[in-house]
């Protein structure tokens, strides 16, 4: 599983749509102080479900919406879309003992979106039948998050509005989970050695 594409609109210092494509290996983000690099990292943790405004350097979650500049008005919402590829999932196969011939769209049955009728075709990159009527597939998934100034907030998987819980389950199954050590924010590395003994324990407990 890996990240494939990130799109930001109205998020922090990105009022206009901005687009990054990630390959395997190493992607580096560079630029002068204050130009928006850490904001890109924030966008990734935010779309993956970050709930604390404080860890995004804000006082309230509304602080992630573009607040305007000298020449620009604030935007009414922030939206970030993250496309993942190689996401594991399970599909009932046509040769299955249960005899169903559901299409790969049934992958969504495992994690029902709020509107089950509106399934989109999904890219199925690999299928292995396991002889029990199910196959493992790798597919692309797009996770989106929107926040409006009203405070209304939405999560979407492949364009369907879902609950935060559905996003968290999807990430848990694809091996992402809530992993404090897979993101090292700017300045955080200096705090690790000066952390209290019980705080360090917590790092290990998260991985246990």
């Amino acid at each position: 599983m890996r990240l494939q594409r990130l799109e930001l609109t109205g998020f922090k210092s990105f009022p206009d749509p901005a687009d990054l494509h990630f390959d395997r290996g190493v992607t580096a983000i560079v630029g002068p102080n204050g130009c928006g690099k850490s904001n890109v990292v924030d966008a990734i943790t935010w779309v993956l479900g970050e709930q604390s405004a404080r860890s995004l350097r804000g006082e309230r979650m509304e602080d992630v919406i573009f607040a305007g500049s000298d020449a620009r008005r604030p935007t009414g919402a922030a939206e970030v879309r993250l496309r993942l590829t190689g996401v594991p999932g399970r599909v009932p196969t046509t040769n299955g003992q249960n005899g169903t011939t559901q299409s790969a769209n049934a992958v969504h049955a495992a994690r029902p979106p709020a509107e089950p009728g509106l399934v989109q075709p999904i890219v199925v990159a690999a299928i292995e039948a396991d002889g029990n009527g199910h196959s493992d597939v790798l597919r692309d998934v797009e996770i989106s998050r929107r926040l409006y100034r009203s405070g209304e907030s939405e999560y979407l998987i492949d364009g369907h509005v879902v609950r935060l819980r559905d996003v968290q389950d999807l990430l848990m199954d694809s091996g992402v989970g809530v992993k404090g050590y897979a993101v090292i924010e700017q300045g955080k590395i200096g705090q690790i050695l000066s952390a209290k003994p019980l705080e360090r324990r917590q790092l290990i407990e998260e991985a246990a």
Binding site: A18, I29, V30, G31, R72, K188, I192, L193, A208
Partner: protein, 151 residues
Amino acid sequence: TRERFHEAFVAVNRNFEETFRTLFGGGRAGLVLIDEENVLESGIDIVAQPPGKRLQNVQLLSGGEKALSAMALMFGIFSYRPSPFCLLDEIDAPLDDANIGRFIEMLRGMQERTQFILVTHNRKTMEIADRLYGVTMEEPGVSKLISLRLN
């Protein structure tokens, strides 16, 4: 549970020691349960001894040595429970050229199985990127992304 924590502790400790030696080119390091009788609740101390130096309180280490030790611990935990991707924001900032070289070598070894997204100001770190994005703010307050070519 006590077993799961203990298993994680032992594994992370071994990884930490190993990663520390890779990043420092030697030396010794480890994690210590402050209260060995109480595995379920004990806090953890860090021991770190750069090559050729005498073992002292980690607080006496230099700024760069502390950063490198912290990096060894984070990557030690990471190797125990790998994530498909890893986001690193300017963690190379306090390091000198030699240490950046060892840090980059370690990333090279890990990037087969892990996708890295790094923010950096350092030219040597930029050189190992497969893809490079520049962020600019020509219009004040408005960020813009540009895909940069390598080489």
